[in-house]
């Protein structure tokens, strides 16, 4: 199986689907000649031409609004928002228009669109270009939220997202773009709401997403040499959320750590804990549930502070050990 990067997997998913379905088009800032802020759409203008690789002025509300309009007349727009942070400008279009039409028109309208958005810190891009806003999107009814962690998941989930009859927010992590993994050349889909157990274990469950899955796995694989056996559940989609896999895992291990880069207060770790504590897994909990998240601060520009603001491997290791030792 060919090994390609996360970025190439996303491009491949879009490319193949645009070949298959001529209703699919890409719209966003600098996505043509420049190939997108991170180079995801590199080469696509030459292949598909300016009618299907639509470059826009710098106005996110207009981009998403145009896409919503196209979607309701049966096109399949893929929006690229340059940085997830700019999604905040478009919330009316995303939440009030795209997310609600299907419901408000009694199911007669569908809004088959994907909004791709690179999120997360680690590039020195400071407070307005480094946020993890997925919780905000999860909270709003009518939207689906995918948070792939690997090239394989990225391709399969993006294909599902494009074919989904209603809006999907597709959160890519900037630091993952260059990570590599095996990806089949042919098209395949990964259903939403199906978490992936990236590592089986029996002592503790880590529930995570995106780049934090990789950080957790690095720690967990080291701890395995000491006989500490941690299960890592990658949610893959935050909405719908695969409650069953999480509940089953915590029922098995009795201990839960949720790791996410988004800030702690009202972050989605709380949602996971609510799911667990309201389920049969409650009776199997053998330690307080914990969350390890971004600090409640804007991401600092200073590289050291930026690093300190979000969970790092050493933090995950400390937290896992503390839970297993019963320090909470």
């Amino acid at each position: 199986m060919p090994e390609i990067t996360y970025l190439e997997a996303i491009r491949q998913a879009m490319w193949q689907e645009m070949k298959r379905d001529d209703r699919v088009f890409l719209i966003g800032e600098d996505i043509g000649r420049y190939g997108g802020a991170f180079g995801v759409s590199h080469g696509m203008l030459d292949e598909f031409g300016p009618e299907r690789i639509i470059e826009t002025p710098i106005s996110e509300p207009s981009i998403v609004g145009a896409a919503v309009g196209a979607a309701v007349v049966d096109m399949r727009p893929i929006v690229e928002i340059m940085f997830m942070d700019f999604t905040l400008l478009t919330l009316d279009q995303i939440a009030n228009q795209a997310g609600k039409m299907h419901y408000m028109f009694g199911g007669k309208a569908t809004v088959p669109m994907v909004i791709r958005m690179p999120g997360g810190s680690g590039t020195g891009a400071a407070a307005q270009h480094s946020q993890s806003l997925e919780t905000l999107l999860m909270h709003m009814p009518g939207l689906k939220v995918a948070v792939p962690s690997t090239p394989y998941d990225a391709k399969g989930l993006l294909l599902s997202a494009i074919r989904d009859p209603n809006p999907v927010c597709f959160v890519e992590h900037k630091l993952l773009y260059k990570t590599k993994g095996e990806v089949p050349e042919e098209q395949y889909t990964i259903p939403f709401g199906v978490a992936d157990i990236k590592r089986q274990g029996k002592d503790l469950t880590i529930v995570s997403s995106g780049i934090m899955v990789h950080k957790s796995l690095a720690v967990v694989n080291r701890l395995a040499e000491e006989g500490i056996d941690v299960e890592v559940v990658d949610v893959r989609t935050l909405k719908p959320l695969d409650n069953d896999t999480i509940i089953n895992s915590v029922t098995k291990t009795g201990k839960l750590l949720v790791v996410h880069e988004a800030v702690e207060t009202a972050g989605w770790a709380g949602e996971i804990m609510a799911v667990v504590s309201g389920s049969r897994a409650f009776d199997y909990l053998d330690a307080p549930m914990r969350r390890l998240t971004g600090k409640n601060v804007p991401i600092p520009y200073n590289r050291q502070l930026e690093r300190a603001a979000v969970p790092q491997e050493e933090d995950i290791e400390r937290e896992v050990r503390a839970i297993l030792k019963g320090e909470y």
Binding site: G254, D283, L285, D286, A287, G326, E327, Y328
Partner: protein, 450 residues
């Protein structure tokens, strides 16, 4: 190795059993398969036999103890084996160690402290005597670290609330094993009881059979009778039934003249042949079984999204006991001759009162009849016995004036009142009515059942 003698699990949903009596004492010789003790589940008393031949030792539970299934209750020593061969014996017989309290540490002789440390302790509001020294003397760092640890986790594990700190998993395990959390030593932070601490079961207090204490609640005096396991089970089941099943009640009256005539003739024949008499209950069971054949939706259970129409017709007969109620089942009642039904009911109720029913004899019922006729109750409503979907309450036979023909002639006839309680989720009123009409037909014209 000595043979483990464990509390057997004889029923699918059985979690524990109460030891009623030991027939053997510590040190007695036992033979394999010989009855050594009697235990009681929620439903029945069971003779428990020895798992091996040898000497019965290390009896861990006494009469009245409630013991989770699969728990080792004793050992049987084979030839040449001694108590020392019993694995982990010492560990299992040690009383739970008391919860460690921080006071025990505070009682140590205080270590010397630097003046800076003493000042820091005052500023931070920390008792310097509580601070552990990392070297010979308590340093300022020690004080700060200790203060930090206090902040992270207050060192008052069990304040005077009297509540036990325990994880949900430990609580569940303790609940399942019937162990009081208070008796366990917690190995978690601040003495929190964790799953691993709920290991060797601690015998529960003997189950009292009679009022144990007179308590005063305000000005009123009450004798306190703890629920027996049977009473608890009855309470749980009937509560769930009446809460979850929408009951409908339909009452009919039937003239039992001809049924009683038939019974009289049958009993005269039986007397000549030296057979036992046939009871009215047995005849009603026969009529019910016949009616259920014609009305399969009354011989049914609601299981998830499906209705199970049972192929067997197994009629339970509610039987009063001193301590509660049990429903022994006449299996395949529709296929049995009347006399066999009658003998079966007599035998089952006798053994029910003696607590000697086998589990199979109280399982698998598809319909229940409850009869208070002998107490002169003319009519009453019963609560459905899940997973069945209906129960028939038979009242006493009362002599009443009734209209017997189209000329409005009135005669005095023996009349029985039958009240059907049915699960309205799967039994409509019309379905229930048809069944009752069939029962009336079977009672008033027994020959139709031939």
């Amino acid at each position: 190795m000595p043979t483990e003698f464990i509390m057997p699990k004889v029923d699918m949903d059985q979690e524990k059993a109460t030891i009623i009596s030991w027939n053997k004492a510590e040190g007695d010789e036992v033979k394999q398969d010989e009855t050594v003790l009697v235990v009681e589940t929620d439903k029945v008393a069971i003779d428990v036999t020895a798992p091996a031949t040898g000497k019965l030792v290390d009896i861990r539970f006494k009469e009245g103890d409630v013991v989770p299934v699969a728990t080792v209750i004793a050992y049987v020593l084979g030839k040449g084996e001694t108590m020392a061969d019993i694995p982990g014996r010492t560990a299992a017989t040690v009383a739970p160690k008391p919860v460690e309290t921080p006071k025990a540490e505070a009682a140590k002789a205080p270590a010397a402290a630097s003046p800076v440390a003493i000042r820091a302790a005052q500023e931070l509001g920390v008792n310097i005597n509580d601070v552990p020294a990392s070297s010979g003397r308590i340093s300022r760092e020690d004080v700060e670290q200790y203060a930090e640890s206090l902040k992270a986790a207050p060192q008052q594990p069990l304040p005077e609330t009297g509540k036990v700190a325990a994880t949900p998993a430990a609580r569940r395990l303790a609940r399942e094993a019937g162990i009081a959390l208070e008796t366990l030593a917690g190995s978690g932070p601040h003495g929190r009881v964790q799953a691993q601490d709920v290991v060797a079961p601690v015998p529960a207090a003997a189950r009292p059979a009679a009022p144990v204490a007179a308590v005063s609640t305000g000005e009123r005096q009450a004798k306190v009778v703890p629920l027996t396991s049977m009473r608890q089970k009855i309470a749980d089941r009937l509560q769930a039934s009446f809460r979850d099943i929408p009951h409908i009640f339909l009452t009919v009256e039937a003239d039992v003249t001809r049924l009683e005539d038939a019974r009289k003739r049958l009993n005269e024949i039986a007397a000549r042949q030296g057979n036992s008499k046939v009871s009215l209950t047995a005849m009603l069971v026969k009529v019910i079984a016949w009616g259920l054949e014609r009305n399969p939706y009354l011989n049914a259970s609601l299981v998830g999204q499906n209705i199970h129409l049972w192929e067997d017709i197994n009629v339970g007969v509610a039987t009063a006991l001193d301590e509660g109620l049990i429903v022994p089942v006449v299996h395949n009642a529709n296929k049995l001759p009347l006399r066999q039904i009658s003998e079966s009911i007599t035998d089952l109720s006798k053994r029910a009162r003696e607590g000697k029913l086998a589990l199979s004899e109280i399982k698998g019922g598809t319909f229940t009849i409850t009869n208070l006729g002998m107490f002169d109750i003319p009519q009453f409503n019963a609560v459905i016995n899940p997973p069945e979907c209906a129960i028939l309450a038979a009242g006493s036979v009362v002599r009443k004036p009734v209209v017997v023909d189209e000329f409005d002639s009135i005669e005095v006839r023996p009349i029985i009142s039958l009240t059907l309680s049915a699960d309205h989720r799967i039994v409509d009123g019309v379905v229930a009515a048809r069944f009752l009409n069939d029962l009336v037909e079977g009672i008033e014209s027994p020959e139709t059942m031939l």
